[in-house]
Amino acid sequence: MTATDTGVHAPPRPRLPVPSLRTDRWWVPPLLTVVGLSIFVIYATFRAFQQDYYWVGDYHYLTPFYSPCMSNGCLEGAAHFGRFLPDHPLIPYAALSLPFLLLFRLTCYYYRKAYYRSFWLSPPACAVPEPHTRYTGETRLPLILQNVHRYFFYAAVIISVINTYDAILAFHSPDGGFGLGLGNIILVTNVVLLWCYTLSCHSCRHVTGGRLKHFSKHPVRYWLWTKVSALNTRHMEFAWITIGTLILTDLYVFLVASGAIADPRIIG
């Protein structure tokens, strides 16, 4: 089968000279998606393997890219949950959390839409033909594994708790008492938005109440479901915003830890 006798060019269809008659710049959104996601992947890969500048000892700032820090290579103060992973250049210090976070986003219903459209062009835009002659969607391996999204959501909840713990520990001054600086505001904002992204997940919506047939018999879960549903309508926004805040937060810790900038302090 060739591309000329399937899809919109299949013989029974109306015979039109061009694959798409769209006159708008439909290629802009997928292009922006490719650029945005690529920046994140490159930055995150670089930082995950850098194994440096992730901890500000004075203020207890720990970047989310290294949380929880579990490698024998971790600085002692940064490792809140012990150190047992072998210290090796190819094993990120947060090797227990990063794969799950990656898979959580990789199997996320929004990101799936984003990369199917922009990287795989399936389809690049609505009513614009995709360049593939065959399509089986998520019916077989490996894409059928997208269905386990729910488990990565559970993992993401645990990691969000850890991130929250990190952000609380970071209210620390060099003298050991309570401290507050610009870094705290950034860490807390990031954590709040991470929660928004995590809780607005479609799987979360399903497990809190979506799976029920009778809301009226479960008023508390129905209430939860309505809240998650309200967040869920912004899942795409949170997906992009948290990419931004993750980079920003990590970059801030990176710059302070490396001594490039000083953290403006409000208290302590």
């Binding site: 008659l21 006159t23 969607g137 729910r150 479609h202 009778h214």
Partner: protein, 251 residues
């Protein structure tokens, strides 16, 4: 009232072939594309074939593509376009052509017939049905569907792959399954059939169905993804699978 000469390009033809034909036609304030098609019929091309009924966005008959995008002709206002813009009107491209703007939409009726009908709860008599508003609300959203089949037209699973029509029922009918699955009194379990017989797995949630829906039904977020989650709960959840194995629950 301001009026001007609009530039139209309309596909005319049938299964033997056809072409885009150019027309210059009067456009008045407040008109929609269907008005212009009617004016063409009345003044220039009396045999131009087009389906339409209510002309108020309620029946879903006048589905076609305007400048390459699936739309209802009666809900596409001319004010959307520049006055000197050439407006191209073509038939839906996912279905077989009949003539001009009319396509053979029987695929949809065949798929509709394959969705197991509402399965009433055995014990209730007519008049004894009690349902709470919050329980019917989700399915009610899907029942707003006017069956214009624009979602079926735009879905790349069948638009770009004629051969998938066999295995895939399309967003409209996967949504119908979700509607029944969420119906508070429907007695059937539709999770396996959604996956096995109607091709839910083909959907890669790229949301074009939601984008074109003239009723603004959140097909992907409220029907297809929740349905995928329900299927995942039954089929792809290792904990559930293990539980079923250990305690011999389920089917």
């Amino acid at each position: 009232m301001s009026s001007y000469q609009g530039q139209f390009r309309v596909w005319r033809g049938d299964s033997d072939g056809g072409s885009l034909e150019d027309f210059e036609v009067e456009v008045n304030e407040g008109e929609v594309v269907l008005d212009i098609i009617h004016r063409l019929q009345a003044t220039q091309t009396p045999d131009l074939a087009v389906r339409w009924n209510c002309k108020a966005g309620k029946c879903g008959s006048c589905s076609a593509e305007v400048n390459g995008r699936p739309r209802l002709l009666c809900m596409t206002r001319m004010s959307l376009f520049e006055k000197d813009e050439v407006i191209t009107v073509t038939p839906m491209r996912s279905f077989s052509i009949v003539r001009d703007l009319v396509t053979d939409v029987s695929y949809n009726y065949e798929k509709a017939r394959e969705v197991q009908a509402f399965t009433p709860p055995g014990k209730l008599q007519p008049g004894e049905y009690r349902m709470q508003q919050e329980d019917v609300q989700r399915s009610q959203e899907f029942r707003k569907c006017i069956e214009c089949f624009l979602c079926q037209d735009t879905c790349h699973v069948v638009r770009d792959h004629e051969e998938n029509k066999l295995a895939f029922s399309g967003p409209r009918f996967l949504m119908r399954i979700a509607e029944l699955e969420m119906h508070p009194l429907d007695a059937a379990d539709r999770r396996d059939t959604a996956q096995d017989d109607h091709g839910l797995g083909y959907c890669n949630i790229t949301k074009c169905c939601t984008e074109v829906c003239p009723e603004n039904i959140k097909i992907t977020d409220n029907a297809l993804i929740p349905m995928k989650e329900r299927v995942a709960g039954r089929r792809y959840d290792p904990v559930v699978w293990l539980g079923n194995k250990l305690f011999k629950r389920g089917k």
